[in-house]
Structure formats: structure tokens, C-alpha cells
Subunit: 500 residues, 3 copies
């Protein structure tokens, strides 16, 4: 029987159903954090309320995040909410899931060179002129790259909630501390966040003693250490901490910088606001130029840069730290790097189109799959992949080096899944399609498709294909050349699976 | 008494005989994987039969390999045997101990640029033209460099067995998984290999509890978990797995890519062949140009490259990944970098003569010592050294920072020995001479001889030598200048030891 | 009330006094070596006497040094003392606390190119000409950079003791062994040093089981495993080792290189001298050109280099290893990079002014604070800081990411303190002022001040400051702009604190 490429993915599913997860080659002498027998798509497991938003952390002790050496956080900022200045011990990629706002980052050592001379700085009351580092608008679909140790703050000046997904690459060589994610707050009261993370860590340690299987269980919202979005209950928490009032006053590195009276005032009022506060009047001072204008100029700069430097030859080292572009929007369909009108699209961000990523050793991809379309099986050659489902759901399969399916399930909206380096995976959208953001722990993540026109199969001689898979020369030829798909398989193909 | 340089190595031996290994400074709080009190030359400890060859692994849990952060495998391919496509989670150096054949590697992302347009591609039956990535001939003495995540396959088209030694640098920064060596098989049945490695790991854990001393014991063939080279016994193993037939069918990432009928066929026939299969008819399609021609062209390319780029100034970054040379023959006596007609020769491969090694952070050396000649004591400044004895035997001594001899024994043909970074070592061939291949965990491994014309002694002022070793100025001068040897000591010198 | 910048530091002190150290978020699954709840300034905990000097080690198992991945040693060399040739498994920075002398280092592979042709080589007795690698003079205030694996020796040719502080960066990527500091001795008897370090390690393991708090306790001299500076007691130690005489003879890698008679002689006399010996007659052969001349020439070379290469554009890669400058004096007040006539000065050494530091991934700073002057609070963005107090004392405060003060105490002369990456710290000199040397685990350590004219506050918009700290726009403006200090606060400001 001739090989019908449209059947191949059903075969895959059937094969996987026949697979049992087994105890793999493991050794207690090794640090075997990536000896993964079973993955779970999982939701954040702690939620910390602030006055004007919430911070949710995925359990940084989960095996998959320890293997990848990353931590992940989701932040929700209500309209008029200000995320107080802080920095982290690890480089960050931050994806804007929804909403719009403004963000400032403070590049250390760049104080003089970054002064913004736009006219919107002058509008403070009186003749006084404010000066500060560059402020950027952000909107849904943006990725923002933040080096470790860099102070940043954000403000929601829109009318809907802002939601962000933050990847902290604690395994990065720039982090000389251990793998524990740390946020250094320069204002506000991070007490609640620290307390919750400690509680989570203790819980997780207990839980993992009773069995690792359940460690990452839980869909969107399940198993969360959730604080109700309820101001009165929130206040109760504040009262519980009343006794620690004196202590709480020191949870703020910036107390270094203000005088005693101010500190007393802060001690009285700060306790019940957390790290995301509501601004009384809207922040007035910051009205950057319209985003279209800002982006147009940035793109021009980028083009000038590329013209001079020759694109991919660039290693990113010559761009000075202070003037680096740190942001790009991946949501625009026109931005897609890979596109199939029947299946979907993928937009990629790496050190070639955002040079600061070379320093951060990170990259990202935003993908869209239409109803029941899929991504051809592939593996990442040089990076872990951390996937967050933005919308819809997808059936995902992940296979380790033993050929065991360590994951074969749906990833639902709001869930996270790690695909370790070299593990093969494929993905098929559900009936409503799927949209996701993936982060990679390499500034130039490379994958190898297992099928299709750029797969490794094309690179093998026909006779090697025939011998390896014990098929005829004719079948080998079909396997190599008949599959015209590049990265996607289309709904029509997957529909036919039902007929097989 | 005047100092006779010919006596120095006997002194060394005597000193070592008086040394007792002691418990060295050690701390359980440290990850002290390199606190080595005792090294052992050792043979592979598991052997997995395939239809047309065997795969043997050295115990990756042995202290010396964990200290060096590497794993080592030996592969034997019978004539007409095909090593099925696979890739590893770590960069590899592969040395061809004997035989000849062809190898294909699939560079990810290089699909379009690597198409080979030689006429020998056209000879497939009919008017159909096959296209694939470059295929290389290999022969005894070649070193092949393979980046992590890159698919490769090999075929023995000669008349004798092909034997290869494969070093996997799991400690390399390119491997983001843990230190466990992983082969990702894209065809065939790796079940047996996985099972043996698991069994080995469990054994080794038990063994190491009863005493670490015996962990690495065993000469060539001793202590091996050997499968008889016997097809019927081999079949028995297959029967044992009969129950796992369904499961075994999923041990193959490429099942992603073929349809259901093919998969059923594979399920029936694949089980008993392993990862090295016998090709029914010889592989016809691949007939690269004669090796001499291929190598001549490669050398010309290299020379053009060096002329343009200025040799040692080159940092290897500009060469594109896809067109990199990945192979060099080290067996040719004319290739030697260090040569002494009485003593032997050494051929070195590093990032300067094979630029891809800069990316792999590895280098190698092939050495030959004649009857009873030796290598002057030295230490590696910036790399671990993993030595495999190709032929003959050598007495080797290794000294740690406490001055303890952690190894003072023969290394026999087929055995492996690690010399950790900075540990001093010397080597003297037995009566039949010695040939070895050494791998280094640095792309530019540097050693410092302890004696001879380029030793550190030459760099010290005469008075410092006299004061440090409490000898007269005249003796210090003799120590510094009388020893004209560079890297070798010759048989005549070592013979005289018996007279001392 | 208007904000008075002079009050801010008192506020800081008060705040800290109200802080209790708490158990922070911790997880046994992590390697949490930087989960620091409490730091201690501490003195070396073992002292090893040699014939002409002492070697003191800080406990390498202390949490702070394990977090930073470094070890620290202090060496005292009496006049006419020779530190015998050795090398280490980690790059070193060596600061000359007092005295002057000469040092030779042996660059591996540089034997031919480093021959010094100065006339002072010719003066050996008779017509014989000595040749050796370059010898450098050193004096108080010098920093010397030593790559790992490089042989070095020093000689005190002055009239006062030489004291050096040696930082070993065992966490450096150049060290492929584990984190244990290792000195490989090429002459002399390191037995005592090894024995003491083993004893220390065992003690520390026991102690840490009984409670981590006391682990690093101890001021200058307290808790030391001190050997009296008393030759007879020292001899007793030698007698204790009499039984190990045969064994001790092998503690010397250079026994490789000398003949049997010499070795017997060494066995008889070497035991009681340690690794720093007294030279019978003064070392005659080495009389480098006067230091002023040498330094002038080095500076000229540096300037030529900078002129050609363009200073900060330089990435240090093109300078060949063999000709690199490895030394710079930081004590000269004119050398200061930051200077305030009322407060003090700071001299910085990094990859831009000493390019070899790029390879070593280290940098340093020497600071001076006058009576009761202070350094503005700040944090290191990309490095750990290891501070050694050279003279006087300073009150230092260190705050972790929870806002807990993990250190709030004086650092006395001769004590060491680690400030982990990203932890905030401030410093105020005592009545006699303070002088220190700090080492950083990055070739380009960057810090962010929390106050003053280049602080991150300046980079924030006024409204963000007002909202974050809940102060009025006017107060925010004062916080941002009224503090004209750059890095220091002056005695006059700190005096006023008493009035607050």
C-alpha cells in the first residue's frame, strides 16, 4: 500500500496510546533533574493579591521547571495599577497577554545617556522639568526583554486588565546566585508574596515526599493556593500580619533612601497594598509619543542597523547596552515568519531580530493554530521550550530519549508545559484553535522537524531511509518527498484521520 | 654527585612506590566529584548486541567520568552494518579505531544549503534523482566532530569490522539536560541498549555502596555485562521482551513519520535487530568520490581559509555552521606535530586546525610511543584528559594536588583512563610500544611539561631552582639546561634506569 | 516636613534595628547555597607555619564563600622568604597588603617568547648566562592577576613582612574540577597545609551539624586554628609527622624532575620548612630594573595599545596570552576613579584597564573612606563582592531580597565579608576611617546606587516616585534631585545624624 502522508499523525497517536511510561535509566549519583518520566501541564500554584492586581507563581520546585532552570510568574494589573519598582536575579522575558500600558526600566550605568528629551516631559506643574530614563508603551502581543538586576516598573493606563507572563531564567549564567527566583522590591510591601512562596515551598516539599506524580497536577485554577479576590478577606490577611508591623517596615530596600518621617508614614499606610498599588489620580507625567510613531522609529533604527552591519553576521556585541531595543510585538499576523493560510502561523524572536537576546541567552515564539491544524513533530536541538497556552487548547505529545511518551494530553488555556531539550514533540489544536507563547533557553533556538520538506528525512539518502525503516525504495522516496508540508499539517489532513 | 637526567624517571617510580593513598581534604557540603583518591584503568561495563554490531558503554557513574563530565562508548560495526540514525544530548568526538565506511550527518537548518550535486547521486533506478546532505568517507585514524542534537548514521562498506570510540561531553554547555548521556534513536529498536544501561546503573549503585574501590576495576573484558556474540542467545533476549512488543513499538521517534501499515510491519520485524542492522543488499546509492580526492579538496579549502584568515588569529566564529569541516585523520605519521625518531610522535587536533572544535569545546591527540620510550611528566592546565589505549600498553602515573599517586599501573589495550585537570602524569610504553587516543575537554588544551627544554623549570631563575630544591647553583643549572628532551624520553635513557 | 537628605542614613540604621532575620523561602530540592539568612565578618580559620612565613585560609565551606564560589587565603612572607613554586586550580587575584618583593610566573606555552634579555640576567658567576621568564617587582597596593594552572613564586627582598590576600575563583569556568581550592606544590613540603585543611574541613562539617549560625563567627584571630609563631612548637608538629616521612617525600610534584640522590637529600632536609622557605643568602640573580622604570614602560605600552585599539571597544581577545600585563597598583591616590575630598576615594580595576581580567572573569576595587564618611547604598548587578578590610573598620549593612538585614555590624581590619550579587549594602567608616580591597566575580562588575545623582531614583519619573513611596510630588522631586552626592556621603552629613 502506498504511503499516505495524511495518515502519519494518526499512527503517531495510536503508537503513543500503546506506550506505558516506565522507570528510565536513573542514578542518584547524578544530578538527574531532567530524568523526566511524566510531564504535567499545570497552572500557577500560588496567587498573591495586591491592592491593584495579583501575582501568581508556578511552583519553581516542579521537576520540569528545575530541569529547564527557569521560573514563571503571571501578573494581573488592574486599570490604574502601578507595579512598583523591582528587579530580579535572573534575566526575564515578559509577554503581554492582554491590555496596554507603559513601562520604565532603569539601565544601570546608563543614567546620563538615557535621558528622554521628548516634549511630554515638560508638562509637570510649574516650571520644573522632570528627567528620567526612557519610558515605553506596551500592548498585547509585546515581548519585553529585561536583563538581570535591572529596575523596572509598569503602569496600566488602559481600561482593561493587563496580564503578563514572566519567564525568569534562573539557570542563566548572568545569575550567580542559586536557582531560586528572587524579586528585589524597591517599594511597597512584598511580605505577602514572600510568605506565600515560603508556604508553597514547604507544601511542595511535603507533597513531593508523598509522591511526585501529583506534584504538578492541576488545571487552570485547580490546586491553587488562591486568595479570593475580595478586599475584606484581603484585609484579614493584613491583620494577621499586624504583629509583624515593625518587621514589615524593613521589607523595602528603598527605605535606604527616605527620611524617618516618611518612613513612619510608610509604615502606617504601606502594609495593605502589596507590590501592585492603585494610583490615586492617574499618572499624568508620562505620555510617550503614540505607539505607532515610536514603533516606526524603532523599526527604522533597526533597519539602519542591519544595513550597516549585515544582518545575520551581527553578533550583537557592538550594540551598546544602553541603547538596545528591548521590545517587539509578535501578535501582528503580518509579523509571522512561518505562515500557512489553512493551518496557522508562527512568529519568532531571537538574537537576529532582537539583539539583546544574545546577552540574555533567550528567545521566544508566538504561534497560532487554526481549528484542528497541527505542528509537525520536531525537537529542539539546543534549548528547552517553555510553552504557555494563551487561548484555546492543543493536544501535545512529548517523547523522551527512551521513546516513552512523557506527555500526551491537552494543554488548556492558562497552563504551562516544558518540553526539555532534544525531547520530540508535536501539537494539534482543538476545535477552537490554539494560540501560545513559547520561551526558549537559547538566543538562537533551533529545531529539527521530523517530517515535511525541511525534515532530517530529506537529508538522508533514499537507501538509508529504506534500510532504516525496512521499506521499499519506492516507499522511502515517498516518505522523503511526498510530504510537502513545512511545519504545519492542515485541518483537511487531520480530518481524514477519522476515516482511517 | 652530578645530576644525570636519565635517572630522573626511576626516582619518580621509587617515590611513588613509597606513597600511600590517603583520605584527602573532602567535604560533603561540596559537590566533590573530583576528590579522587584512586583511579582505575577500566574497560566498558556493558555490551549490547545488535544484528550487525555491538555497542559498549563505560560506566557513566564512575567517579573519573563524572569528574570529567563525559561518557564514553565503543561501537563495533560488522561489514555491511548500518548504524541507524540517532543523535545525542552532548557534543561528540568519534575516533575510528579500525575499518572504513561512510557517514552522513544532518545539520539542522542546513537542509537547503547542503545538497550534494555530485554525479553519484543520479544513479538511482529510473529518472528519479535523490538529494541528501553531504556524505563523508571515514577510515582508521579519523576523528569526527559531532555537535549535540545532530542526526548521524554510519555504514560499514568495507571488509573488516569498523570500531569507533565515542566521547560524549555531557558536561558541555551545549547540553542543557543533566549529565546523563542520552542517545535519541530515530529508527531501529534501542530497547536492549536502554535496558542494559538501566541494569548497569542499578548494579553500579549497589556496587558503590559496598565500596567504591571496586567500582572501576576490571581489565579488557573483565567485569563486563557481556552479551555473547551469539545470535541464538541474542534471540532469547528478544523473546524475553515478547510481552513488551506493543511497548517496544514506541521506542522509535521516527514512528512519528510513517503510516500505520508501515508501523505494523515495523512492529513485526524490528524487534530483533537493535540499533545496528545488516543491510540486505549493500547500500548502493552512496558512492562518494575517492577519499584521496575528497581529502585533497578539504585540505585546499582549509589552506585557502587559513590564508585569508591568518591561522591562529581565527576564532572560528565566522565559519558558517553548515559548511564546517568536521573530520581529520590523525593516524598518518606525517601529520605528527611532535616527533622524535627514537621515541614516538604526537598528532594534535584543536580549534586551530579544526575550527568546529571551538564550538564543541573539545580537542584530541593521537600518540605513539616506541618500545619503552616515554612522555615527560606534565599536567594539563585547562582540561581533563580522557585516554583510550589503542594498541600495546603503557605504565602511567597520575599525581593529585596532595602529591599522592592516584594511579600507578599499566593501561592496557582497550582500557580507558581519565587524567583530571591539573593532575600531573607521565607515561612509559611497554615492550611492544603504545598507541593511544586522548580527548580533552577544552578546544585548546594546554599542557606544561615538568622537565625538558620547554618545562616550567626553564622559566625559573637558576637561583630560585637552587633555593627551592636545595641544590647547588651548578646542580640547578644542570636541572634547567642539561635535559634536552622536549616531550619524550627515549628508550636508551629508560634502559639505563635498570643500571641505577 | 521637607526631606533632608542627611537623615536618610539614620533612617536606614533605625529600620535595620527593627528587622529580625527570618527563615526565608528555601527548598532542599534546590542547591540553595545562596539562601543566606545571616552573614558574619570573619577571620581566617586555619594558620599554617612555614619556615619563613604563614599561610592562612578562610574556611572554604562557609556559606558565604560557597555562595560566591571562591576561596580566600592570606599569606605572610618574612624578609628573605621565598614562596616556593606552585599553581592553583582556579584563577587568582592577589593583593599586596604590605611590603615589596619580586614575583615570577610561568606562562605555559610561552617559554620561548618570554625570555628576558635585560642585562641583569648576565651577572651569574662565571660566563654562564641564565635565562628565564619575566620577573616582576611588586609593592604594597598592587593587584596581580594569575590564570589557573600557571606556576608562580614570590620572594620578599625587602625589610618588612610581605602580606598578600589571595582570592581563588573556584567557581570560574576555567576550573573544571569541583569547587574545592587546590594548590599544586612543585617544591617544598605542603603536608602541613594539606593536613590543616583536612582537619578544618572535618571540624566545619561537625560544627555545621550543630548549627549554622556559629559557622562563621569569630573576629580577627578568634576561633582560629592557630599555630603559634614558635619554631619549637612548629618542630613538634614535624615530629608528629616523623612516621609519615616516607609518605611526605611524595608530596612534591617536582620530585618527578630530580634524581635519586637529590631526592634523598630533600627527604632529609625538606620536612621542616613548609612552602615558604628562608633563602640562605639573599637571592642574587634577580635584579629587575627599578620599579618606576618598569611601570613607566608598562603604562606606555598600555597607552599605545589603547590608542590603537580604542579603549573600551577592546574585548581583550586580541592581546596574546603571553604578553599580557598582569599587574596594577591601586594604592596611589592619583589612580582613584571616584574621589571626594571630604569622603574618600575608590580605584577600580576591570577588563577595561587590565584586559587579562576578561579571561579571568574577575575585577577589583580598592576603597578609602575618611573618618565617619560613607558609601551610598547600592547593589551589584552582575557579581558577588568579597570585601577584605585593610585598615580601620566600617559599619556595613547588607539586605537580602526579603528586605531582611542579613548583616549589620562592623567589619574590622583583617576580616572578610561577602556581599552576594543583587543584595543591597551600605558602608560607613569608623572614627579612624576605613580602607578595603574588594574582589568581584565579573570582569566588569556594575553597581546601581540607591541614592544620589546617579541612582536609579533619578531614572524614575517624579510621579512614579511619588506614587511608589506615597509622598507628594514636591517630596518626590526632592528625593530625586536634592541629593547631589554621587557615591559617597560625607562626614558632615553623617555627623548631623546624631542631631536627628
Amino acid at each position: 500500500m502506498a504511503i499516505n502522508p495524511s495518515l502519519l499523525f494518526l499512527s503517531l497517536l495510536l503508537l503513543f496510546n500503546g506506550c506505558l511510561a516506565r522507570q528510565t535509566f536513573s542514578s542518584q549519583q547524578f544530578q538527574n533533574e531532567c530524568q523526566i518520566n511524566r510531564l504535567h501541564a499545570f497552572a500557577p500554584q500560588t496567587r498573591i493579591r495586591s491592592e491593584a492586581g495579583t501575582t501568581e507563581w508556578w511552583n519553581p520546585n516542579s521537576q520540569q521547571l528545575r530541569c529547564a532552570g527557569v521560573s514563571v510568574m503571571r501578573q494581573t494589573i488592574e486599570p490604574n495599577g502601578l507595579v512598583l519598582p523591582s528587579f530580579t536575579n535572573a534575566p526575564q522575558l515578559l509577554y503581554i497577554v492582554q491590555g496596554r500600558g507603559i513601562q520604565g526600566i532603569v539601565m544601570p550605568g546608563c543614567a546620563e545617556t538615557f535621558q528622554d528629551s521628548q516634549q511630554w516631559q515638560h508638562q509637570s506643574r510649574g516650571r520644573f522639568q522632570d528627567q528620567h530614563q526612557k519610558i515605553r508603551r506596551f500592548r498585547q502581543g509585546d515581548i519585553i526583554a529585561l536583563p538581570q538586576g535591572v529596575v523596572h516598573w509598569s503602569y496600566n493606563d488602559g481600561n482593561e486588565r493587563v496580564v503578563t507572563i514572566n519567564l525568569l531564567d534562573t539557570g542563566n549564567s548572568a545569575n550567580q546566585l542559586d536557582n531560586i527566583p528572587r524579586r528585589f522590591h524597591l517599594a511597597g510591601n512584598p511580605e505577602e508574596e514572600q510568605r506565600q512562596l515560603r508556604r508553597l515551598a514547604q507544601q511542595m516539599q511535603g507533597r513531593s515526599e508523598r509522591g511526585e506524580e501529583s506534584e504538578e497536577e492541576g488545571g487552570e485554577g485547580e490546586g491553587e493556593e488562591e486568595e479570593e479576590d475580595n478586599p475584606s478577606r484581603h484585609s484579614r490577611h493584613q491583620e494577621e500580619e499586624e504583629q509583624g508591623r515593625e518587621s514589615s517596615s524593613c521589607n523595602n530596600l528603598l527605605s535606604f533612601n527616605v527620611d524617618q518621617d516618611v518612613i513612619r508614614k510608610i509604615q502606617r499606610v504601606r502594609g495593605n497594598r502589596g507590590t501592585i498599588i492603585r494610583v490615586r489620580d492617574r499618572l499624568q507625567v508620562v505620555t510617550p509619543p503614540r505607539m505607532e510613531e515610536e514603533e516606526r522609529e524603532e523599526r527604522q533604527q533597526e533597519q539602519r542597523y542591519r544595513r550597516t552591519r549585515g544582518g545575520s553576521q551581527d553578533n550583537g556585541l557592538e550594540e551598546t547596552f544602553c541603547s538596545m531595543r528591548i521590545k517587539e510585538n509578535l501578535a501582528d499576523p503580518e509579523r509571522a515568519d512561518i505562515f500557512n493560510p489553512q493551518a496557522g502561523r508562527i512568529s519568532t524572536l531571537n538574537r537576529f531580530n532582537l539583539p539583546i537576546l544574545q546577552q540574555l541567552e533567550l528567545s521566544a515564539e508566538r504561534g497560532v493554530l487554526y481549528n484542528r491544524a497541527g505542528l509537525i513533530p520536531q525537537w529542539n536541538v539546543n534549548a528547552h521550550k517553555i510553552l504557555y497556552m494563551l487561548r484555546g487548547r492543543a493536544r501535545v505529545q512529548v517523547v523522551n530519549h527512551n521513546g516513552d511518551a512523557v506527555f500526551d494530553d491537552n494543554v488548556e488555556q492558562g497552563q504551562l508545559l516544558t518540553v526539555p531539550q532534544n525531547f520530540a514533540f508535536m501539537k494539534q489544536a482543538g476545535n477552537e484553535g490554539a494560540e501560545w507563547i513559547s520561551f526558549f533557553t537559547n538566543s538562537e533556538a533551533t529545531n529539527t522537524p521530523m517530517a515535511g520538506s525541511v525534515s532530517f528525512m530529506r537529508a538522508l539518502p533514499e537507501e538509508v531511509v529504506a534500510a532504516s525503516y525496512q521499506v521499499s525504495r519506492e516507499d522511502a522516496r515517498r516518505i522523503k518527498f511526498n510530504n510537502k508540508n513545512t511545519f504545519f499539517f492542515t485541518p483537511s489532513q487531520s480530518e481524514r484521520r477519522a476515516d482511517a
